[in-house]
């Protein structure tokens, strides 16, 4: 038998040993580690309806089903009526932002594949919409948040990518970030090893000792940030609305934050007054930016028009003509593409398929195809001091 499978055994051994030789390699088992802000100067918010959110990002169907079960098991390990367990089985960045903005959300667990970046040695989680989760993701959290867990391969890199130390220092109250320091995290029960499950078991023990009923009263939103926008297609390209480097909302992820009419629509974002502080900036004025998380090369951006940015505290910027953001100067009006005939050559076919999908998307993005309505294309929106 050894003779028959000699080559296979050699290759597998080589691959596995090759991996174990890397300095940060561990045994996939999901050893839970944590960092937290040690001396928070302010209190967490208390909540009577605590919610722990599981965000399952980019996973295949089987793994997804498996981790929905594991997330439910996590809830079963907690004391009765301890917290609601909400599972986002195909989470996007925008969904996670909305959950973090909820003052009942006390914990967020992200489970998914991660991809290492070369230059910064970070690790990126992708949402189910194939877009990376934004670097400032955690900035959307309220002071009710007690913990945040990153469960995926190379999670140490995710600590860098999601600037976790910086974020927990800037969110009022005490937050703890949990992560596994395994380079590769086993995800199935084969051979009795499921690193994620193992980590969650330990996490449940820690979380069980947290008290969400103690703390300061939640602060109501008293400020409105509003945008006047047009030609924003729902679900095409999610943009994050960012005030002083803090995510305060999303644009284009749902019908509520989109506009398919010919006239401008005002979209408002409620903001807590304390969230207007500029501690995350060097400057001390109010600055707004609107940008997507990093789009993949060649992926079409949704061209749209922005005519006004208004903070209810008195800062306003009107644009006449409106500013045009996106990736094309004028509407794309070509005839619908014809599905390519594949040649069987993988590389060539791959290019054909990408071109085809890309072309389809480009045609669908224009709600107002009248080129006279589109002023000069600008870059992404970054306001100066409002």
């Amino acid at each position: 038998m050894f003779q028959q499978h000699k080559l296979m055994i050699f290759i597998l051994t080589f691959i596995l040993l090759g991996h174990f030789q890397t300095p940060d390699a561990h045994a996939f088992r999901g050893r839970l580690r944590s960092i937290s802000d040690q001396n928070p100067e302010t209190e967490n918010w208390k909540t009577q309806h605590p919610k722990i959110v599981f965000a399952l990002s980019l996973l295949d169907e089987k793994l997804n089903e498996h981790y929905v079960k594991v997330a439910k098991q996590f809830g079963d390990r907690l004391p009765d009526n301890f917290a609601e367990i909400k599972i986002l089985s195909a989470a996007t960045g925008a969904q996670i932002v909305r959950e973090l903005q909820n003052p009942n959300t006390v914990g967020l667990v992200i489970i998914g594949h991660t991809y290492q970046t070369k230059s910064l040695k970070g690790s990126v989680f992708l949402g189910s919409d194939r877009q990376p989760l934004p670097t400032e993701l955690l900035s959307a959290a309220t002071p009710a948040l007690r913990f945040f867990a990153l469960l995926g391969c190379h999670a140490r890199g995710a600590l860098t990518q999601y600037q976790t130390q910086f974020e927990i220092e800037h969110i009022p109250g005490k937050q703890t970030v949990f992560y596994t320091d395994d380079s590769f995290l086993a995800t199935n029960q084969l051979l009795g090893v499921d690193g994620v499950k193992h980590a969650l078991k330990n996490l449940a023990n820690v979380v069980s000792n947290m008290n969400f009923q103690l703390g300061a009263e939640a602060e109501a939103a008293s400020v409105q940030l509003s945008l006047k926008i047009k030609d924003v297609l729902s679900g095409f390209e999610v943009r994050y609305v960012i005030l002083n480097h803090r995510i305060v909302g999303t644009l284009g992820d749902s019908p509520e934050t989109s506009n398919s009419d010919q006239s401008y629509k005002t979209i408002s974002y409620p903001i807590r007054e304390s969230a207007m502080n500029t501690a995350r900036s060097v400057s001390t004025c109010q600055k707004i930016s609107i940008r997507s998380a990093e789009l993949s090369l060649g992926a079409p951006a949704d061209d749209y028009l922005l005519s006004e940015v208004n903070l209810s505290t008195g800062q306003k910027r009107s644009m006449d003509p409106a500013l045009h953001f996106g990736d094309q100067p004028k509407p794309y009006l070509a005839a619908p593409p014809i599905a390519p005939t594949l040649s069987g050559n993988k590389e060539e076919d791959q290019i054909l398929v990408i071109q085809y999908v890309s072309e389809l998307a480009r045609i669908k993005e224009w709600l107002d195809p009248d080129a006279r309505h589109w002023p000069v294309l600008s870059g992404r929106f970054y306001s100066d001091c409002l």
Binding site: F184, L185, A339
Partner: protein, 209 residues
């Protein structure tokens, strides 16, 4: 079961186990610096193995698309990984506007030889950085368009626009191994950046400092 069979099964089992983490591609290229390449290959394989694509917009398969599967997530992994592979090409980051805020983290500060507060400053200055980046791209296009026929006068204009004294200064700088702090400051002043932000930007596009 024979020991040999057990061993083979264990080896295969381990590999399968790891493959389900999505890390098998990286594992197969343990020394690969360009992690995007394994992802790209994984994406390519899955894309064609699945025989399906998904439109970018709706999640529904297009009727005109061959072998489309609108409801099954598995086949979509291919183009997702493909996209991921392209996204993570950090040398040319593959992003729409190429330059995004830098994560404020010790590892990033260390990489650029600056403090975390400098990274905050850089992120604050990002709009100016983008303008500077466009200026550089514009200068490169100008030079490319002229090819060898560019006049000394035009070259001087490009050089002065980037904060150099003249074209000779630009040529000398490009020929040197490292950019001096004086040159960085001159570039920063010409683009309305602080010197530290200019340093981070220049490093991020691969200039030796």
């Amino acid at each position: 079961m024979k020991t040999s069979n057990k061993l083979i099964q264990m080896a295969l089992g381990s590999t399968l186990l790891i493959s389900q983490t999505g890390c098998i591609a990286s594992l197969a290229f343990p020394v690969a610096e360009a992690v995007n390449m394994p992802l790209f290959f994984a994406g390519t394989g899955s894309l064609f193995a699945g025989g399906a694509i998904r439109t970018l917009t709706s999640g529904d398969g297009d009727p005109a698309c061959m072998g489309c599967s609108s409801s099954h997530l598995g086949p979509m992994i291919g183009d997702i990984l493909l996209a991921a592979g392209l996204i993570l090409d950090q040398k040319n980051p593959g992003r729409t506007d190429e330059l995004n805020p830098l994560p404020i983290a010790p590892a990033v500060a260390e990489k650029f030889g600056v403090t975390q507060s400098d990274l905050t400053q850089y992120n604050d200055e990002l709009p100016q950085v983008l303008t500077a980046h466009q200026n550089i791209i514009g200068a490169i296009r100008t030079l490319s368009a002229h090819n060898t026929k560019i006049s000394r006068e035009d070259l001087n204009k490009v050089a002065v626009g980037l904060g150099f004294q003249d074209s000779a200064d630009l040529e000398t700088t490009l020929a040197s191994d490292q950019l001096s702090s004086e040159k960085i400051t001159a570039f920063a002043n010409s683009q309305g950046l602080t010197p530290t932000t200019a340093k981070i930007y220049l490093k991020s596009i691969g200039i030796k400092i």
